[in-house]
């Protein structure tokens, strides 16, 4: 909750800096690699401050995203290995289960319209991502470990984007985009990846 309030306040501040432009995007988030093994794809939404391209090829944007990831298995079959001179190698079975894995992330960066045919734009962009993860999991391997974790973890990374925008009028634009996310999450510590594909609306108050 603290993460959410902090990031929303930061987002509103950034919106004031970048004038009153808001966007809402719904997307399909698809974890890849190790995260894709553990977590299911999901649909979510992000709120953003996003400027139009009308002032040039460049624009800035800041986004707030909430992801409530669900594990692909109730219990993952993990194992541990013990080797000793007298008994040789023994493989011990175990389990790992995730009770909670939620992410709040704030992204800030810019887009460059490499195809600029007003009101149609095709753009590439990049963001810096910071945030937090709320994690609960248990991990147990017979005779080796029996641990549980409940708490927060920090998150940092980058995301890169390709998209297209069609401006319906001076105030409304329709955006379709695909992001590639590279994230470091501190608990369980690791470098994770995900793709997301979504569509959204941009609205200018002026």
């Amino acid at each position: 909750m603290r993460y959410l309030l902090f990031t929303m306040a930061l987002l509103l501040l950034l919106c004031r800096v970048s004038r009153a432009q808001i966007g809402l995007r719904v997307f399909n988030y698809r974890p890849t690699g190790e995260l894709g093994f553990v977590m299911k794809p999901l649909f979510s939404a992000e709120l953003s401050c996003i400027a139009p391209f009308e002032d040039g090829r460049w624009r800035t944007q800041f986004s707030l995203t909430y992801l409530r990831l669900k594990p692909r298995m109730d219990t993952f079959p993990v194992y541990g290995v013990v080797s000793s001179g007298s008994t040789g190698t023994t493989v011990y079975p175990g389990t790992q289960s995730f009770q909670k894995y939620s992410i709040v992330q704030l992204s800030g960066g810019g887009d460059f319209a490499f195809i600029d045919k007003d009101p149609f734009y095709v753009f590439a962009g990049a963001d810096i991502v910071v945030g937090g993860a709320s994690v609960e999991y248990t991990s147990q391997v017979q005779t080796i470990k029996d641990e549980s974790y409940s708490g927060g973890g920090i998150l940092a990374g980058f995301r890169f984007r390709l998209g297209a925008e069609y401006d319906v009028n001076d105030q409304v634009g329709i955006i379709a985009s695909a992001n590639r996310n590279y994230l470091f999450i501190s608990e369980p510590a690791g470098l994770y990846g995900a793709n997301d594909y979504g569509i959204g609306l941009r609205y200018s108050f002026h």
Partner: protein, 263 residues
Amino acid sequence: MLSVMKKPIAFFVLFAICLVSASCRKALKDVNDYFPKVKTVSATVQANGSVMISGEIESDGADPIQYLGFCCGTHPDPRITDNQVIVQRDGNSFSAVLSGFSADSVYYFRSWAANSYGYAYGNVISLDSIAAVPVTPPCSLTMNTVDIGGSTGTHTYSSVSTPTSYMGIWQFTGNTATGPTVDFSFGSAIATGIYTTTLNTSPAAGQVYVDFTDGFIGGALNSGSSVYVNTVSPGVYDITICSAPWQYNSSTFYFKTHLTAPH
């Protein structure tokens, strides 16, 4: 129509396209495809009462298999740690020989494999009445007697020790009150079967070194004679040697014994 793309812009676009499209490994549709898939193919009782179990690797999963093996037990759902045997793969096949079964129990055998994502089991095969095929010696001798040949006569064992393993050699001793003391050294765990005598004091698997002392006389059985072993119950063996030659000075004598070890 389209804006002119200058070289730095083209580079930027290419960079962005590569990053977006060249994702990390895409998640597999079925989470079970990350884990190995193995099958328990057969479990066959051998003549000596051991069980040859074989398995097949259907898939390594999303990463190469790191550990592979079998487990077995007397409950229908054996787990990895139940009498675990770790084996090496031979292509997509793997096998092991397990022993130490009791004929009056049902045993359940199961293959398993583990890669970096986790582990998975194969199917379960059950066997009951696991017992060795008895061997029949070509002679009938009185139980718990020994005759080392010559004119020394037949003597009765007063005790036979429990076979114990030392450095891979299974040894026990038969004592008589009136005659010889006989030492047996098997080159492998004792099981039902026909073993061959050797003069090597460190016998190989399938061989047995038999020596004895009787007062001032002592000797060891020549190489090449048969020793018939039947497992009476786990850890108890019926052993027969019909007529095994041994040398004393320039003479040849014939050794006979029939005993239960231990008793």
